[in-house]
Symmetry: none
DNA sequence: CCAGGTCCATACCTTCAGGGTATCGCGGAC
DNA sequence: GTCCGCGATACCCTGAAGGTATGGACCTGG
């Protein structure tokens, strides 16, 4: 009748480990219990979720589809748990460099007694914090995966090249992307990437290269030994306000209004 | 640890009724059980959700906030079930003009957690939807091909002639079929027929002629510029409830009961 | 002012799902 | 053939969810 979130959580664990024994260990339950629960889930759903064999466990197509629904459901449930009991609080997330104070102040002033918090996000968790309820709304830099989210664009801002003050491009009024050919770009992209803007800039200062950042970010993190130069022909960075699509609270609606006007 | 969706569903029921007894009734459980479950939920969440008094129950602010999260969570959970293919869903088909709401409401109220859907059919697909499983039962207008179907007659209703308000027959108390001789009948029958009642009526309004419809259909689609007149000597339209003969589910049996009583 | 009604809580019982341990059966690998 | 990894089965125990009966607080009409 009702879906049992415990079983769903067990299912996700097995789907991730593709091994009942290790999944059971991760869940801190005995393996036979896990086997039984998964079987019970399959019975309830009248669908086979795994192909079991003594040499491995794999997801069936139905299992794969369930997994896609199960994860967001679990995060939504934990978001609910996180939010409940927390005193009347409204939390605004923001990416580094974005100035949220005016909007936050305005919301707070209109609702005395409401605790308005802010949470600085990173490139990696800017979407996650919305889904798991750590923030009610968040200022994000597009593009982000928009599944389960709603958003309104707020403004665009140009990107700049950040280089050492001694760099050949330092002092220029502006550059074109072609001027950067041959420069090593310091990016957050995957494997050996940098987790924060500070680290990126540190790297540029130490070892040269060029970091490409939205203007406000570059200004926010400006340092003596680095300068930034506008790049004329690169697509601007879009800043948007995003929130979970299943949440429709008056406060969120009001903040969206405020953010668009500020 | 895990949120219990059953308790959440109970919570929403109480929040909607603001009365433990009636909520329990709607959920088909005993009132003390509901009280205990809500209390357990409050303990688990460490938050008081309701203010109880012998003269009424109200949501606390925390309860109100939980309600905002609880509804979408339940929706997402049932969406998951539906997509996995287990959706506990019962779908009732109906021909235009027939009012199914009371019966549907009654079934839904007797089975909390059951998703009861309705599907409007047309003259062409009213049987097809039964066979292909789009509906579990359907209100049909006889005659229909009954192969593979079982049905119970529900009621008869007179047919009326729908004519422009300016027509010579408009305003009459009733007419006989013979009065219609010479009139062009606008019918849905095959090739160049009209696919919907709306189209038929549009045609009558534009180009004259007469449409013969069951009374309820004529009422449902009534327009300012058209009037309907009962036809005394034409066989009445029979409305029946039909279902696939190879399907014998308790829900179908129950709905048949309900439909006959309503 | 008391009788009855409404509403939620408490007490107590029964059932069953979920957790645990011990052990089996099946394949693949050495 | 033997061993090992992996999931399934068998059996027990506990606790949570369901039920009925009843209590206690509060309102309301006579």
């Amino acid at each position: 009748m009702d879906l049992d979130l415990r079983k769903v959580r067990y299912f996700v664990a097995v789907a991730e480990h593709l091994n009942f024994g290790r999944a059971a260990e991760a869940l801190h339950i005995a393996q036979p219990v896990l086997s039984r629960q998964i079987r019970a889930l399959e019975t309830e759903l009248k669908v086979q979720l795994f192909d079991r064999s003594s040499k491995g466990t794999t997801l069936t197509p139905a299992g794969l589809r369930l997994l896609e629904d199960a994860r967001p459901l679990l995060t939504q449930a934990s978001a609910l748990l996180r939010r409940v009991g927390v005193a009347d609080t409204f939390t605004v997330g923001f990416m580094p460099g974005l100035i949220v104070t005016p909007a936050v102040r305005l919301l707070a002033s209109r609702h005395p007694g409401l605790q308005v918090d802010v949470l600085r996000t990173t490139w990696e968790d800017q979407v996650e914090v919305i889904h798991d309820g750590r923030v009610d709304v968040s200022y994000v830099r597009l593009p982000v995966p928009l599944d389960g989210l709603r958003h309104v664009p707020l403004f665009d801002e140009p990107r700049v090249a950040v280089v050492p003050a001694t760099h050949r491009l330092a002092g220029k009024e502006s550059v074109l992307e072609v001027d950067l050919t041959g420069e090593r770009r310091v990016q957050h992209t995957d494997p050996p990437g940098f987790r924060s803007v500070e680290e990126k800039l540190e790297h540029v200062a130490m070892h040269g290269g060029v970091a490409i950042l939205p203007l406000s970010t570059a200004i926010f993190y400006s340092r003596e030994d680095l300068v930034h130069v506008p790049i004329e022909d690169i697509a601007p960075n879009e800043v948007a306000l995003a929130w979970a699509e299943h949440r429709h609270t008056p406060l969120i609606a009001e903040f969206i209004e405020i953010a668009q006007q500020v």
